[in-house]
């Protein structure tokens, strides 16, 4: 009797160990490390999560995500995820994860990583970048038609190539639409978390006759959107559809982080994952505009609102024409010299 029970215990133990190994080996999971903003930001975090969720459902695998509270926590989460060996791919959201990832990717050379909106030069990291200039171009076409005073104002967070990229494309789009509209010289807040200054800058632009305001300035941009609301002029959003913030916001350029994350995860599970820099734009569906007919319902459903400003059909036709031409390469949207 005793011997039997001992044998049984041994078998059970063995089985348990074997089983747990099998779990660790077999079950490839998706790891998602969000940016410090956390879920609910209606921007990069929410959209990345949507992309990962879609991949999870389609592939039938598990998705684990964490919401770090501070930049200092990134490295710990990345190492936890990587050292567990449970994850087929670990997706890191946000440019400020780059330093930590650069280190961890070298520590775990066999782990696949992806980083959103930043470059990490390691062979096992896919850096997902978005051609903001092309998104700016489409928005510029819309703005050129929506302005009545023929003056458009833009507010930037900081005068850096990353932000100039948005605006160079935007100005080109306004020019291409050829409605006689002009863009005033860009004004910069000098910081990402100063909505007070963002609002004042937008007010100064409106005082100078602008009736369409675009801001690419993080939280400072929220102030610019509020200035436009207060003065009853149009505004536009950036990165994700921000039109839910007010009826005066008629369109937003969108970085389709969901598409990028989804495609990268799928590639990882299909065994076609490659490290390196992937910079894609309109042609690949990584850059869009929330008023384009096949994209609009997606945002409205995601954020639970409806667009109220009517975009006239001829304007939308022009936008779609621009989209087609940029995608086919007929229009080459310029970039800041740093990006060429």
């Amino acid at each position: 009797m005793k011997r039997i029970s001992r044998g049984l215990t041994a078998v059970l133990l063995f089985g348990l160990i074997f089983f747990s190994f099998a779990l660790a080996e077999g079950a490839g999971r998706i790891g998602l490390i969000l940016a410090t903003g956390g879920l609910g930001d209606k921007s990069f975090n929410d959209i990345s999560y949507a992309g990962a969720l879609k991949a999870k459902e389609e592939l039938g695998v598990e998705l684990d995500y964490v919401e770090p509270k501070a930049i200092a926590e990134y490295e710990g989460y990345q190492r936890d995820f990587a050292s567990s060996g449970d994850y087929e791919i670990i997706v890191c959201v946000g440019f400020d994860q780059a330093d930590a990832l650069n280190k961890i990717a070298q520590e775990f050379p066999n782990q696949k990583f992806a980083i959103v909106d930043m470059v990490v030069n390691q062979p096992n990291v896919a850096s997902l970048l978005f051609k903001a200039n092309e998104g700016g171009f489409l928005l510029g076409v819309e703005a050129a038609y929506m302005t009545k005073t023929k003056k458009i104002g833009i507010v930037g967070g900081m005068d850096i190539p990353l932000i100039r990229d948005f605006f160079i494309g935007f100005e080109e789009g306004v020019k291409w639409a050829n409605t006689g509209a002009t863009v005033l010289p860009t004004v910069y807040v000098g910081g990402w978390a100063d909505p007070t200054k963002g609002k004042e800058l937008a007010l100064s632009l409106i005082d100078q006759g602008c009736d369409v305001i675009w801001a690419a300035a993080g939280k400072s941009g929220l102030g610019a959107l509020e200035a436009a609301k207060e003065r009853g002029v149009f505004a536009m959003g950036v990165d994700a559809c921000q039109c839910y913030l007010g009826n005066h916001i008629f369109a937003s350029m969108t970085k389709r982080v969901d598409v990028a994350v989804y495609e990268t995860i799928k590639a990882a599970f299909a065994g076609t994952f490659q490290g390196g820099i992937f910079e894609k734009g309109i042609a690949e569906g990584w850059i869009g505009n929330c008023r384009i007919p096949d994209e609009q319902p997606l945002w409205e459903e995601r954020f639970g609102f409806t667009h109220t400003v009517e975009i006239p059909k001829e304007v939308m036709d022009k936008v779609l024409e621009a989209k087609g031409k940029v995608a086919s390469g007929e229009i080459k949207v310029p970039r800041p010299p740093e990006f060429q």
């Binding site: 903003g37 956390g38 005068d159 004004v187 100063d194 007070t196 100064s204 005082d207 939280k219 509020e226």
Partner: protein, 298 residues
């Protein structure tokens, strides 16, 4: 005409308000002999509570009150730590700043599901004042509160016996004590009052100028307030003029940028260069009204 216009003047007023409130608040603390470098944290905290209370109650006036009260609350903490327990004022102030950043981010995440910014709430209503409105621009009651505060605190400090006693408490607590002034009580009261006034700056940011809270939205205005206070030589009128100067360079900077004649990096330097020039003694010696040592009765 160009950029020198009424709109520039109005922008200057708006941009100088938060700095002014912080400067006035800081002035009261320092007059009582306590350096309050926690102005930034107090302001951020008040900005947060103003929005939170408005969000919960639906009334911006309750938000206004909560903003001020949360400033008062932090003021009590500072007063107890630095006056009653003679804590190091710099350490306490830094603690308040760190607390303001961390607490607002944490609560924002809990309530609005995002650490970045709160949802939009009803801001303070615009106060309609005929004639004055055309010059000062559309403003909420806070701008008039600020003007009243400048005049009242000037009268209080230099034309009432209590003001005299407060100055004595800062300058020479021993002498004040010998003359029968309750030094500790004066310090406690005015550190708390100063923090409450600073809280108004936060309310201005989140309920009057904007109508939402964003993490870190004070963006150094508390420290600008400290600078304005020193530049203004610890007097209400001086604080006012110094804040106006900072507001003016900021408002001018914004308009010069849109002209596109200079690289924006250089233009963005304006306010900071002015601050450094001002503080590095261009305006004569700035003698603090106190040596800021904790007072122990002997």
């Amino acid at each position: 005409m160009g950029i020198l216009s009424l709109s520039l003047f109005q922008a200057m007023l708006r941009m100088s308000m938060p700095v002014l409130f912080a400067a006035l608040g800081g002035m009261f603390c320092e007059r009582a002999g306590v350096v309050n470098i926690g102005l930034e944290g107090i302001m951020l905290n008040s900005a947060f509570f103003a929005v939170l209370a408005t969000f919960l109650s639906g009334s911006p006036w309750i938000g206004f009150l909560s903003g001020v009260l949360s400033g008062v609350g932090l003021g009590v903490v500072i007063a107890i730590l630095t006056v009653k327990y003679s804590g190091n004022q710099i350490v306490v102030g830094t603690g308040i700043n760190v607390f303001g950043l961390g607490f607002s981010a944490f609560m924002c995440q809990k309530i609005w599901g995002s650490r970045g910014a709160s949802g939009s709430v009803a801001g303070l209503p615009l106060l309609r004042v005929p004639y004055l409105e055309q010059v000062l621009g559309e403003n909420t009651i806070l701008i008039y509160v600020a003007f009243a505060l400048i005049i009242l605190s000037h009268l209080f400090l230099f034309h009432t016996p209590w003001g005299l006693r407060l100055r004595a408490v800062g300058e020479n607590p021993q002498a004040a004590d010998t003359a029968g002034v309750n030094v500790h009580r004066y310090k406690m009261v005015f550190v708390t009052l100063g923090s409450g006034i600073t809280g108004l700056g936060g309310v201005f940011l989140s309920l009057a100028h904007l109508s939402f809270f964003a993490w870190g939205m004070t963006s150094g205005r508390g420290f600008m307030g400290l600078a304005a206070m020193i530049f203004g030589k610890w007097t209400p009128l001086g604080c006012f003029l110094a804040s106006l100067l900072f507001g003016f360079t900021d408002a001018l900077q914004m308009r010069v940028q849109a002209l596109g004649i200079l690289p924006s990096q250089i233009i963005l330097l304006f306010p900071y260069v002015v601050t450094i020039l001002v503080l590095s003694g261009f305006v004569g010696k700035a003698l603090p009204p106190s040596d800021y040592k904790p007072y122990e009765k002997r």
